[in-house]
């Protein structure tokens, strides 16, 4: 027969100081793990919100990012009338020739400057991005030296707000609007008119990439195949979704370091949990003897202490979740494929919290195993005598 769990719960309440301290130790470990997972998840959410599976990004062969790609106007004319491309409001194919460059801007937390993507694009490029809207101000006008900034750029860079002027290329640019891409990476970009931007950085004929919108999913696949197999074009086409998915790799170092840190912290906390459980066993020697006299088997004693350790860890895990919740939505940045920063927010999901609690359970199980074994091995008489 098993010892009732209420016995363990009451014991935890009686030794509340020790319980709270051990649980808090576990909580911090779990918090670090959850924070890292939430960070990586946040980046993943942002990247997968950035790419539309119907849109095909065309780079030059050999290029894996827009900023290193070279794409000529001639190449663009060749792909623009490929079959399967959707038509825009004006009846022209939805294809956008874009220039991507990077400028260094001083931000609130990096006064020495941070790399920011500047994208020059034609009106079709704006029409294609369905998830995008202007949250304040207006779009830039073709032929004007005007810029629209992503909402996280507007928050983090004091120089990039409506009414201010940004200096790059051959002179100053007016910031006329702020765009909101939901969770998308476009929040970390600055957009301007294609011809204005490209002439300013002296790349009038050699631009970066083209984005085209397919009619439907099969058309998108066919278009990608068509573009990649056309030797004459010399292009590397992929769906916009895939392009952003590949960038998830930029979170790999942080994920690796974070998991390494959590595992080491977990070793430390499980030793601490072991300590607490050994103390619990030692203090309750007489109780253990009594339980044995009452007829509880060695196995029930073992599982009872084991369960207590796991309960302690679960408490710690839950506390850890609570500790991390305020982080949810906090914005941070990481370097992306375009040699500039992508902003994203911590994204704590129930699944991540469950993972955190599971991690705590493993930790508690490891910490409780030996003390529980120790408790079950006590001889009845010796235990009752309280040695």
């Amino acid at each position: 027969m098993a010892v009732p769990v209420a016995y363990n719960l009451r014991n935890m309440v009686v030794r509340k100081t020790t319980t709270v301290m051990t649980a808090l130790g576990i909580a911090l470990t779990v918090a670090v793990l959850i924070a890292i997972l939430a960070l990586v998840n946040g980046l993943r959410t942002t990247l997968s919100a950035s790419g539309d599976p119907l849109q095909v990004l065309v780079l030059r062969k050999g290029s894996e990012s827009e900023v290193v790609s070279n794409f000529t106007r001639g190449q663009f004319q060749d792909i623009k009338f490929k079959p399967g491309i959707a038509a825009g409001k004006d009846g022209q194919p939805l294809a956008s020739l874009e220039l991507v460059t990077v400028i260094n801007l001083a931000s609130v937390d990096a006064p020495d400057g941070m790399n920011v993507t500047v994208r020059g694009l034609p009106p079709a490029g704006i029409e294609m991005r369905k998830g995008l809207r202007i949250s304040s101000g207006r779009w830039f006008e073709t032929g004007h030296r005007e810029l629209v900034v992503g909402k996280s750029i507007a928050e983090r860079f004091p120089d990039a707000r409506i009414g201010k002027r940004l200096a790059f290329g051959r002179g100053e640019w007016d910031v006329v609007g702020v765009m909101d891409a939901g969770r998308g990476a476009q929040n970390s970009e600055i957009w301007g008119d294609l011809n204005q931007v490209s002439s300013d950085v002296q790349r009038i004929d050699v631009l970066s990439a083209a984005l085209v919108r397919a009619i439907d999913a099969p058309a998108a696949r066919a278009l990608i195949n068509d573009l990649n197999s056309d030797q004459r074009l010399n292009t590397n086409a992929m769906s916009e979704r895939e392009y952003y998915d590949l960038q998830t790799a930029s979170a790999a170092p942080i994920q690796f370091v974070g998991i390494f840190v959590s595992v080491i912290m977990a070793i430390g906390s499980s030793f601490a949990a072991m300590n607490t459980m050994y103390a619990a066993v030692a203090r309750r020697a007489q109780e253990i003897g009594t339980l044995r006299v009452l007829g509880f088997s060695r196995g029930s004693i073992l599982s009872s202490f084991f369960v207590e350790s796991v309960l302690l860890a679960v408490l710690g895990g839950l506390l850890g979740c609570l500790l991390v919740l305020p982080l949810n939505g906090v914005t941070t940045g990481v370097g992306g494929a375009n040699f500039s920063e992508i902003d994203f927010s911590f994204h704590v999901t129930p699944r991540i919290m469950a993972l955190g609690v599971a991690f705590a359970v493993i930790l508690g199980a490891f910490g409780g195993l030996f003390p529980a074994h120790n408790a079950s091995r006590k001889e009845i008489l010796a235990a009752l005598r309280g040695i």
């Binding site: 301290m21 460059t101 260094n104 912290m265 430390g268 030793f271 941070t332």
Partner: protein, 386 residues
């Protein structure tokens, strides 16, 4: 005060299992803290190495991705205090399948005859150096890169260009040793220039500038930038250390990450140590009563318990520091090592920080239980049955 040292040690050794578990627990956490402290130190607090302090990097003010005109080199070389200025162009491109991050390494187009005088810390056999200078399609690679892909002298490496489209084939003519992680390939910029269309020639990514004395570096950097201030293309010059650090921000907000993790680790150690001390004091209330009857003052008792906690924490901290030196050596060999100045695992300031932190945590953690024990009235303490 050291009169009581044997007593303190004996007390801490009374419950061996608990003390050992506590020491291990603190040690494991402290080793993490040790690594974080040494990485933080290397990133933000360390002085540049003597070679590094002599180098500046000049780039386009707009950003690193925008080029500078090549003729700037001559103007930079005329600035007093500048010993040499070398063109350096990030080549990019991909080796084999670029989607596999393992295939990534840095490639730079440089001026072969200047490379080893500017990077004085790189060592290469004289004949290999000469072979590199005399062959247009030659390249030199770092020892780490050679080991990683098992490259040998005479091997051919094909890189598919992206910023500079086309297939480029290089012959390995030299392998150099570097105190830092050296997954890097240098090749002759002339080779690159000749493959480019007329319109793209004469452009430069950065200039690596060697100055005569470290104390002149800041002044020379400012002089370079101000001499191009009114030109169409303006420059930004920073120390090599600052330049390298700007890449670290690419990994994310490293500073905040390091600080918040170390705060969490320290707090965990505090809890572990406090828990142990609370347990051990609770068991000893009666003993404290006896000590008091023997004439020990509350102050001495406070000191005894604080000392015990400090001893345990110190030992844990020391063990942690020892493990951390091993881990730090690992960090230096990891891909991060390329951004770091050579992290010395036995940096005295890191060691002192670890020990001080451990000691402080020990003292802090036992303050409350020790205070309680010292203040318990004799009779009550003696009556305690736990």
């Amino acid at each position: 005060m050291f009169r009581f040292l044997p007593f303190v040690l004996k007390n801490s050794w009374r419950n061996r299992r608990r003390t050992l578990l506590t020491i291990v627990s603190i040690g494991v956490s402290m080793c993490l803290l040790g690594v974080i402290i040494s990485v933080y130190h290397a990133f933000y607090l360390s002085d540049p190495t003597s070679d590094q302090a002599l180098r500046l990097v000049t780039r386009n003010r707009i950003s690193l991705t925008v080029a500078l005109p090549q003729f700037y080199r001559e103007r930079i070389k005329q600035i007093p205090g500048v010993r040499e200025a070398m063109v350096s162009q990030w080549f990019g491109g991909s080796y084999k399948d670029a989607r596999d991050p393992k295939n990534f390494f840095a490639r730079f187009a440089i001026e072969p005859e200047k490379l080893f005088s500017i990077y004085g810390e790189l060592s290469i056999p004289e004949d290999q150096k000469r072979a590199f200078e005399h062959e247009r399609t030659a390249c030199v690679i770092g020892r780490d890169l050679a080991d990683k892909f098992n490259f040998h002298l005479g091997d051919r490496i094909t890189i598919v260009g992206d910023i500079f489209p086309g297939n480029y084939e290089f012959t390995v003519r030299g392998i150099f040793d570097s105190p830092r992680r050296s997954e890097v390939l240098y090749f002759n910029r002339e080779y690159l220039e000749q493959t480019l269309p007329e319109a793209r020639r004469g452009n430069v990514g950065t200039f690596t500038v060697l100055v005569d004395r470290p104390e002149n570096a800041v002044r020379i950097g400012e002089t370079i930038d101000s001499s191009f201030h009114n030109s169409t293309v303006q420059t930004k010059t920073e120390s090599e250390q600052a330049f390298a650090l700007s890449f670290v921000s690419f990994l994310g907000n490293v500073k905040a990450f390091l600080l918040s993790v170390s705060a969490a680790v320290m707090f965990t150690i505090l809890l572990v140590s406090a828990n142990t001390m609370a347990m051990s004091v609770r068991e000893r209330v009666r003993e404290v009563g006896v000590l008091k009857t023997l004439g020990f003052t509350p102050g001495t008792i406070l000191g005894l318990i604080l000392g015990e906690a400090a001893a345990i924490a110190l030992l844990g901290g020391f063990i942690g520091f020892l493990i951390s030196t091993v881990l730090t050596a690992g960090v230096r060999k990891s891909p991060f090592g390329a951004f770091l100045p050579p992290v010395s695992p036995y940096d005295p300031s890191v060691a002192v920080t670890c020990v001080v932190v451990a000691c402080l945590i020990g003292l802090l953690s036992s303050l409350l239980p020790a205070w309680g024990a010292a203040r318990t009235p004799i009779l009550e303490a003696l009556r305690s049955t736990d």
